[in-house]
């Protein structure tokens, strides 16, 4: 089933990079000059090198490391753009192709979403990668509509302290054992199958022991020094295991991530890394592949040679408003009961509502804006308070781990909902 071309994509997450690359070559056809514009635009759009957007424009151009990073990203985007024939190489210069110019026009006149859609079509023509991803999701967990859960448990989550692992010779193995049991029970819950993963666990233990991270003569010191690395490797090992062995993906974790985050931007797949009440990451399709759809809440995105079509879920406000407000209200109370606070994180609420309704984040933002307007006009039985308290920039981290919730273009962070008395 897997198409070899699927690993032909380059290593960057944001589709917006294509847009800024074209704009950079519009500025100059010489790559060495174009990169300057690329950096300016990248900072302006807060694009990070990872799958997260950047919090501040804090790029320090004096560091060799940063320049290397930036050049790497630039080269990757350029290389994929050459593949997609958006640009052409002529000697030392790079020219925007007629196709590239057409897309640049779309970006400028119709906006980035339409531009991304065109990029999607080009990528899909070449790779069928998005189709592979969506089909694999549905096949990976057919009973739960393609929901892929990747549970992650740090030692602390399982009640094991760092000291217990560092100063106890059996501490790490104990963690592995407890983790194995927990994962087995999760597999039973999420997939409804009994699976013994003892062998996989043994292989993990062997890997970690021979990784050079643990020095048996200086056991505690080495574990202490490499603690975070060991925990991260354990986490990645199991995510990889779930991906390949359980969900049967023929794709490495890093490519999987790339496809998932590119799909998320297009609104065909959702992924949540902090879903309320779940430890780990979940991925699920918000689009379907079928020959013909009947429901008007779906829009065709792509038509394949074999007649199959990709439809994404785009529910209309008029026919879905009741359901939305109902789910919004119930989910608010659900999260409120967990956090025990009147105001709750709007991001948590968005994740939950998107998951229940299988809609994209942008659709949620738009629906919430509409519901909020009705609430201001006193047309709803509930009262919604949206507050800006704690802006995303005030977070100390460098990256924005979750896209801001924008209501009428303004970021909102916390929400409270109550029934009118």
């Amino acid at each position: 089933m897997r198409n070899k071309k699927i690993v032909a994509i380059r290593k960057f997450y944001f589709l917006e990079y294509f847009d800024i690359l074209l704009k950079s070559f519009e500025y100059s056809t010489i790559p060495e000059t174009a990169i300057d514009m690329f950096i300016v635009l990248k900072d302006k759009k807060q694009l990070g090198e990872s799958k997260y957007k950047k919090n501040h424009n804090t790029t320090d151009y004096s560091s060799i490391h940063t320049i290397k990073h930036l050049t790497y990203t630039f080269d990757e985007v350029l290389s994929e753009s050459l593949d997609l024939k958006l640009v052409e190489k002529k000697g030392k210069e790079i020219n925007i192709s007629p196709l590239g110019n057409k897309l640049l026009g779309i970006s400028k006149t119709k906006g980035l979403d339409k531009f991304n859609l065109e990029i999607f079509k080009l990528m899909e023509q070449k790779t069928n990668g998005f189709r592979y991803l969506i089909e694999s999701c549905y096949n990976g967990n057919p009973t739960k509509n393609g929901l892929l859960a990747f549970p992650v448990y740090s030692p602390l989550k399982l009640g094991i302290s760092k000291d217990e692992i560092v100063y106890n010779k059996n501490g790490l193995n104990n963690y592995f054992k407890v983790l194995q049991e927990k994962l087995e029970s999760d597999i039973k819950i999420y997939l409804g199958i009994d699976l013994n993963i003892e062998n996989a666990n043994k292989s993990l233990a062997k890997r970690i022991n021979t990784s050079g991270l643990i020095d048996n003569y200086n056991y505690s010191t080495s574990i202490f020094a490499n603690y975070n690395k060991i925990i991260k490797r354990t986490r990645d090992y199991w995510i990889n295991y779930f991906l390949k062995e359980i969900y049967k993906f023929d794709l490495s974790l890093s490519y999987f991530e790339l496809w998932v985050y590119r799909s998320k931007q297009l609104g065909i797949i959702n992924t949540h890394e902090f879903y309320p009440g779940f430890n780990g990451k979940i991925v699920y399709p918000i689009s379907v592949l079928m020959d013909e759809k009947a429901n008007t809440d779906f829009k065709e995105l792509y038509s394949y040679e074999d007649g199959a079509k990709l439809y994404f879920h785009a529910p209309k406000w008029s026919s879905n408003q009741n359901e939305f407000v109902d789910i919004l209200f119930r989910s608010y109370h659900d999260i409120k009961a967990r956090t025990k606070s009147y105001f709750i994180s709007l991001h948590d609420l968005r994740d939950m509502v998107c998951f229940k309704m299988k809609i994209a984040e942008k659709a949620f933002d738009e629906f919430l804006r509409k519901a909020y307007q009705l609430n201001l006009k006193n047309q709803l039985k509930i009262k919604i308070s949206l507050e800006t308290d704690k802006l995303p920039e005030e977070n100390k981290a460098i990256y924005l781990m979750r896209e801001p919730v924008l209501i009428s273009g303004k970021p909102k962070n916390i929400i409270a909902i109550e029934l009118k008395k």
Binding site: A149, Y275, F278, K293, M357, I414
Partner: protein, 468 residues
């Protein structure tokens, strides 16, 4: 037919016990002292709701800073602070007590018009206002309307006229007696044409005397205080001012009226400053576009500092804006673009005289706050050490923890606890009772599994797509 006498004479078999104790009497309380939904409503007549019960010790730090940096600084000094921010420092929602604090500040200032707080240097009044939510106020013009409305609500124009007239009457009619009249009555009488004529006052002369006040020398029709043409006497008061304001159509006319005309009136009456306390100020910038924000900040700057208005020259109106945490960020750009940041920094990281940090409560504060509410509703005064009864310090500590030290939540929980304890006729509200309550309470219970990703009902897209 029944004997009609029976209807009048027959008695029920069960008799009512009139010695029954009141529901909260066992706690030496007249009623549940805590509000059910603790959000301040300034116009409520109930003390537990209108912000009347307020333990100033809880906010001593904030109050002292306002006193030292604002109230005590002579208004005559043109460099006095004209704009301040009361910044909430805790991020989680509402209910930290800002509104209650502002209402009490309002009362403290108006009790003696600031004379006591400023060692007689300033005579200032305060008005309180809160913009409606929902983006009704986006322009500065609408904000001026809001200020004028709250000036009217405070009755301060009538009070100013009463001050002016009383001065003249004492001078010209020494036989008039004002004893045995309450403040409210006095203000009402001095603004009533009927009362003044009844007392034999020459209205034409009285109006003329007012106009002779040195502050009105520069007056060019900004204020409707002259004798009206025609054959009937009339006097100016709040009502005539409202009518005048309604006729003003242009923004400039309104600004002239509020920031020059009214300032003259208040100066003439004997005030040398005023405080405009704006609660929930974020309701304005939240709905403004970047341009609207910048315009707003620029106009604020004009009326406060740079304009040709009398207020800009002397800084009569001082603004105190209460902001939620995070709001400074909303205003940051507009503030620096309009040049306000240099004059009145908004950045919460900068320690400056015009920024008052509104901190979260602590354990001691919760104890003080609950004591104050209990004290207000006691039947008999209690001995020292029993002020918290039926609570104790440990149970209050627990309540505060469960309520995340949020004043509003603490009060709500105290309301529920004492209500439950009264139903169960329980003598004390101790730690255990609070713990059991928390576990039983619906508000706090965790619905286990309800948001589990497996049991959650989600849309089945494949099915939905097939359905017409």
């Amino acid at each position: 037919m029944n004997n009609p006498l029976n209807k009048l004479t027959q008695k029920p078999t069960e008799s009512v016990n009139i010695t029954e104790v009141g529901r909260f009497e066992i706690y030496n309380l007249k009623e549940n002292p805590f509000p059910r939904s603790p959000f301040v409503n300034k116009s409520s007549t109930e003390d537990k709701l209108n912000g009347n019960i307020f333990e100033i010790a809880v906010r001593e730090k904030e109050f002292e800073k306002i006193k030292n940096c604002f109230l005590k600084v002579p208004q005559a000094n043109v460099d006095h602070q004209r704009l301040g921010f009361i910044n909430d420092t805790s991020y989680i929602g509402r209910g930290n007590g800002k509104s209650a604090f502002l209402i009490n500040l309002l009362k403290r200032i108006n009790d003696n018009y600031c004379l006591d707080l400023s060692d007689n240097k300033n005579k200032c009044f305060a008005i309180f206002t809160v913009p409606e939510g929902g983006g009704n106020i986006k322009s500065f013009d609408k904000f001026v309307d809001l200020i004028f409305d709250s000036i009217i609500e405070s009755n301060i124009i009538n009070i100013a006229f009463a001050m002016l007239r009383l001065d003249i009457l004492i001078r010209k009619y020494p036989k008039l007696s004002f004893d045995d009249t309450s403040f409210i009555e006095l203000v009402e009488n001095l603004n009533s044409l009927e009362w003044l004529t009844e007392k034999g006052i020459d209205i034409y002369d009285l109006n003329d005397e007012i106009k002779k006040n040195p502050y009105f020398k520069e007056l060019n029709n900004e204020l409707p205080i002259s004798n009206s043409p025609g054959f009937f006497h009339s006097i100016s008061n709040q009502k005539t001012f409202v009518e005048h304001y309604k006729k003003l159509k242009k923004d400039q006319e309104k600004n002239d009226f509020v920031f020059t005309g009214l300032v003259m009136l208040f100066l003439a009456a004997g005030f040398n400053g005023a405080y405009i306390l704006v609660d929930d100020f974020e309701r304005i910038p939240e709905f403004q576009s970047a341009t609207q924000k910048k315009d707003f900040a620029t106009q604020l700057r004009t009326i406060l500092f740079d304009g040709m208005y009398l207020n800009s020259k002397i800084g009569f109106f001082n603004f105190l804006l209460a902001l939620h945490a995070g709001v400074p960020r909303l205003l940051e750009t507009a503030w620096s673009e309009s040049g306000m940041e240099n004059r009145v920094p908004l950045n919460p990281q900068t320690e400056s005289n015009n920024v008052i940090a509104f901190e979260k409560l602590n354990e001691r504060h919760s104890v003080l706050m609950l004591k104050k509410y209990l004290e207000h509703y006691r039947i008999k005064s209690v001995a020292k050490g029993d002020e918290l009864f039926p609570f104790n310090e440990k149970s209050v500590k627990l309540i505060s923890e469960y309520s995340e030290y949020n004043a509003s939540k603490i009060l709500k929980m105290a309301h529920q606890l004492i209500d439950k304890a009264a139903s169960e006729k329980r003598k004390l509200i101790d730690e255990n009772f609070v713990k059991t309550f928390k576990n039983d309470s619906k508000d706090f219970s965790i619905e286990i599994g309800s948001s589990d990703i497996i049991t959650t009902k989600t849309v089945d897209l494949k099915k939905k797509a097939k359905k017409k």
